[in-house]
Subunit: 87 residues, 2 copies
């Protein structure tokens, strides 16, 4: 029971942590210090976690990774735009 709460706290912290990063990236549009390889790999990894959660029918894994996937894709899209399409 106690250990479950710790799991929820852990999931909440690692998931919501990407919100301030997304806000900073949207506001400044600066992605120079962000690694393209990191966000590509991370986004793919979170997608795998999401599918894993769906297979296991584990709502905590599904919800946490759906939110993280959305935020990571948002940050990645700014990085991809700045790297390949910005004049």
């Amino acid at each position: 029971m106690m250990v479950d709460i710790l799991g929820y706290i852990a999931a909440t912290l690692t998931t919501t942590s990407f919100l301030p990063q997304a806000i900073l990236t949207i506001r400044t549009r600066d992605t120079d210090a962000l690694s393209l390889t990191m966000y590509s790999t991370f986004t793919l990894g979170v997608l795998c976690w999401l599918i894993y959660g769906i297979y296991l029918a584990n709502n905590v894994i599904i919800v946490a990774n759906a939110i993280t996937l959305f935020l990571a894709m948002l940050i990645l899209s700014f990085k991809v735009y700045n790297t390949f399409f910005k004049q």
Copy 2:
């Protein structure tokens, strides 16, 4: 079995993704586009995941989060230095 492999792939991707970010940060020392709130919250979250894994005696959770914790703390330390101590 198939689903376990997916979990391992997911854990490997999200864990190793922080390696290129750490390398980029060490090499350039540029942390302008990195959110301090993100890395503080994320590092705390990963620490909770690690303790959670130790409680559950789950080696996958322990190993993945020990590596991520090390990398996240490394990136966070550069951000903290640049934000508060750099002249």
